[in-house]
Symmetry: D3
Subunit: 138 residues, 6 copies
């Protein structure tokens, strides 16, 4: 079920189809997954999100696999089932081993546990953690 139609290539506008084609070209596969098809009713937003994903997830100061692990962590905490599935698959495609997946799960679970404790305790932030007054870039 979805709150919008999932647009096939035939149903998509030329602008949306152009994004589908770019997804295919960049990924080297004919398959366009449902997220993009559910976004395609708004071709402008479709293009912006695809551009943002491509630019943000590329290698930079962090490598692409690390970025996928962070993506899975956020998606899990936000409870987005679709995103957990698609980015766990993406992490595997970028080389995530079973041992790395197991450690990712352990860190996510530990953080959820201590987040709950610090929140329930309303622990005040130590002054030493503050960066407000530090010099730019220090």
């Amino acid at each position: 079920m979805a709150t919008v139609p999932l647009l096939s290539d035939a149903e998509a506008s030329p602008e949306a189809r152009a994004v589908f084609d770019d997804i295919r070209a960049v990924r080297g596969t004919d398959y366009v997954n449902n997220f993009w098809r559910s976004l395609a009713a708004d071709p402008e937003q479709l293009a912006e999100v695809w551009d943002a994903v491509r630019a943000t997830m590329a290698a930079g100061a962090l490598d692409p696999l690390t970025k996928e692990l962070i993506y899975v962590a956020v998606s899990t905490s936000n409870g987005c089932g679709y995103c957990i599935h698609s980015h766990t698959a993406a992490a595997r495609a970028k080389g995530m081993t079973e041992a790395q997946h197991a450690e990712l799960l352990r860190v996510i679970a530990l953080a959820a546990r201590t987040n709950a404790l610090a929140t329930a305790l309303q622990t005040p932030v130590d002054a030493g953690f503050d960066r407000t007054g530090t010099e730019a870039g220090s």
Copy 2:
């Protein structure tokens, strides 16, 4: 403000003080941050959480800095101010550069954005992402 007292060394039980001392020894600093002091009314849980943090965050299939980035990502998504502060500081202490911090923020923000979209659209998960029936370890 906190929902519990933050125990000083003098107020803590011998069991809790032993954990404080271990934190000091492992970290090579005299400072014990507020989270541990707010947990110290339950020395058994204090010890368990400290042991879990030490074991989970050690180098393994993922390196310690990657684990801290994941921790910040979860803490941000869960809205735990204390944990965001303490683990951003921990990431810096483990070598996170300003450029890496900037990319971490970009990935977290992008994931929050697409999580919201996939959730609002209720996009159905592609069958190809399913691992239920795969062989163990495949």
Copy 3:
């Protein structure tokens, strides 16, 4: 799947059936959607929630469609799949166009993105936003 039975008209108590009948009369349809059937085991809560929905979502200082858009925004952020589906449908029934739906999605996604950034940065609230000390109604 549900954690409770979905009560048919025959299974519901007279008090719950009376609420079902009111839902039908107000909406001008024979269909009672699953949310109300899953609440019906507690007829008092069923009646209170139905009364609250009717009173709160009626035209007032905000029009009914604007209220449905807000409802979808909250439901998306809370990750309630049922509510996203039912209130997106309700918004369409109250006249939401595809263009309005597209803009709703854009605002939700933008807010999720900047929420994540402000939370990760732990940006302190500007003093100018405070209303605590303002005069009532000012």
Copy 4:
């Protein structure tokens, strides 16, 4: 800081002051906490929420302390600092011991941990948990 003024008795409307007085009478104290003062700009909603709190938190099939523990658990998971503080205080006022508080924290932290795991794993719900088709009240 708040997004609205906190109304003093002098600033509140007669309808809001009547709710303040009822809060004082029911609780046997002169102090009206900030939540009610921040709600008082809308006296009708103030009255409805106060009535709902009084009715829902009274002894019934569950005792008042158990209800406060559930309230703290929800407030922690939703990250509402105000509510965590006020309902932890309310639980103490209703007899919560330090040992009970410690166990409450342990259950909340364990649930957060396993919630994260089941969500990251996207574990499918066992058919045996389903109650949809069961008879009413069974």
Copy 5:
């Protein structure tokens, strides 16, 4: 669908099978539910989580049913469908009546409602709720 295989007894490692057997022995049933099978790829984490569940949910300062109610409350607030199903079932198995379930739902819904209000209002915490400076155990 799941992001990992659900391991059958034949597929699980000897360490994971030993945990499955302990679950069966403690619960007096042959059935091992999907959560444990989805965790079994990491037998060490499987064992740790099972041990934590058993220890934390046992009778102590709070009785086992109260703990299950708290678990359902957290799982609902975190939106973990699997956990809501499994712990609602567990609460029923420990004696939760329909009347208690109805009151649990009412408290969860009330807390979600007032959490949203206090958060939208950004109500400042009353100084009287603070416990930071209190003596340990007071």
Copy 6:
């Protein structure tokens, strides 16, 4: 407190200062609020977010005030204190009356309440809400 320095005009890079100046020009005020200063360490992301806010929040199929109400609703549900403050102020600046604010709060609180109920009940989505198979644009 913040996890990064808040950059003054003197500390900001020329690229970041240009965004500050554009914010001033568009808003007709000298004041640049903390969110932008906390983002300024990454001038590229600062510019992208500012551009996205300006484009998304402009009048379109939805009017600017409706968009701010949706923004407040999302920010409340995500528990972002900074964003609740800044967008409640923005809504007031765009004409939100006290009566509209009161209704916004009521809708947010009602949605949070029924979200919690539908989630706790795990109510299955009615087939009639599905749009997956509908024709594009229908």
